[in-house]
Amino acid sequence: MDRDRALALLHDMLLGRKFEERCAREYMNGNIAGFLHLYPGEEAVAVGVIHACEASDYIVSTYREHVHALVRGVPAGEVMAELFGKRTGCSRGMGGSMHLFDPERRFMGGYAIVGETYPVAIGLAYGIAMRNLPEAVICFFGDGAVNQGTFHESLNMAALWKLPVLFVCENNQYAIGTEVHRHSAVPEVYKRAAAYRIPTERVDGMDVLAVHKATEHALRQIRAGTGPWLLECLTYRFRGHSMADPGHYRPPVEVKAHQRIDPLELALRELSPIYPTPEQIAAAGPDAILKLRQYCSDQGHLPDEDFRQLEAQVDAEVEAAVRFALESPEPSLEDAWQALLANRRGETLL
């Protein structure tokens, strides 16, 4: 992967991380309310997958979707404004954290009922197939969502009609407080794809380059008309399920071990020609991020000052997003009615 692309990934991962951590702060400040599901730890999935897509592809995501929207190009200000419930938000303040939409960028939402992304995704894919277009649909879902009936129903239809969908499982190993082996008889999600004759791959979801490559591969085949694919990305969320959840059910050592293989560090690492071994990662300990950044800078691929500059740039972006959100007006009740009745416009029948 060339340096530009790699740095673009790095930028988006940093943005994802810093944006989310800022959200946590703004939630504490009372500027964001409701359920707030943050993404730290999982950035490599959204960044790796979405960077491998075309602008004409559709993205369907869950309630943990801020970073997906950002990577897709939804302006950070519009995302933050939505979380603040403002009129300038990408969903006009009607949707909030769990329901980000941006039709122009084919970012098709933000669904808060576990398992809803599958049918929506196959519907978009049905339209693509019916019209014979070279587009595809990316459908995100968690490991817990695999047990919802719609998974089964929708994957069957996708395979039966060879619909262009890439199903991406963000397997962070927990559904709220329930570990994957306590909710799934077959905890390896990729193994479930065989029940629908869907080709599949399991990748290290902490390794953005692996995710990116696997996505490119899958999308090539999807566009060739062979039907859906399923990608299982093994990842981990550093925080609790949502801001309401301290995450006490996970042993501290488990969280720490995963932080060691922080995707951000893996991205930095890739910029160097020497790829650290699992032993090195394991030895890196909780301060792996620091160590790896140092290591990369040693190799001359990302001098310290460049990294600091990138960080500063991202900080500024996040700051600007917050400012935009803060200064934006609230929607009126009239706006809400407009949002409800928008599709009645032009109808002369009533």
Partner: protein, 328 residues
Amino acid sequence: MAEKIRYWQALNRALDELLAADENVFILGEDVGLYGGSYRVTEGLYAKYGEWRVRDTPISEDSFTGLGVGAALMGLRPVVEIMTINFALLALDAIINLAAKVPFMAGGRLPMGLTIRTPGGVARQLAAQHSQRLEHTLMNVPGLRIVVPSTPQDAYWQLKQAVLSDEPVVVLEHELLYFHEGPLDPAAPPPPPHRAIVRRRGRDLTLVAYSKMALLAQEAAERLGEQGIEAEVVDLRSLSPIDWNTCAASVARTHRLLVVEEDCRFAGAGAEIAAGLTERCFTRLEAAPMRLAGLDIPTPYNGTLEARTIPQVDDIVAAARKLVKEGS
């Protein structure tokens, strides 16, 4: 020029014309294609338009209804057939949480030209799981429109209007209406889809009904007429929104309201109709509005009992006679 046609044929014709006119329209559901539809509504369309436009689905109601939602988000006009409304219970997340809410949650920036066709109501001895009427459930969902055609002409008009609308619309058909015959003039200009129609004029009381019960109400009104009681019959045609003006104007004239519904009485559609009209016509009412409705019991299989759980023409006549005596 009106011709005589069956209800299912009117729906079939509407679908045929819609498919021919707009390639964004497609149909999906169980056995709608090769088999031609359980009630023949999609007969012949698979051969004519092919499998991508008329799609046989697996028995996966929640997901194929949700598929319709996804397709509608990109501007298509899917027509989802749920074989009977009883199976819609499995698809309510797609209908209520997706179809009715997504455009709103997106700030009004996404279309939802989804149509859901499904027959409801008590048919003939299909027992409790196959005899449901879920109008009340759908009515309480803001963002959803519900039409309830009682005639072939309305079925034709309202289905076409539903499919051409950018809002999600449920077309609630009735299993016992499919083989009813009536006139159809395809060239006649349709009234708005939610407009109620006064099917019969009368000064003594107002019968408000919809779907199959609208036909029974008319029959009852004729019988009442022979007995010197002139009932005005309002066929609602739409359960969401309700055309309050037409109803209220009638009640203001007759001062008496009898709501006839096949839905279970308790928290059924009639509760809203009665409550809404009481609010609008309280001072004009000479007696408490009356609801004649299904019994609050699951539908028994036994045919005699089944018939006793929902209003029959005799029941309407008796209720109307009782009502005109009250308060006067």
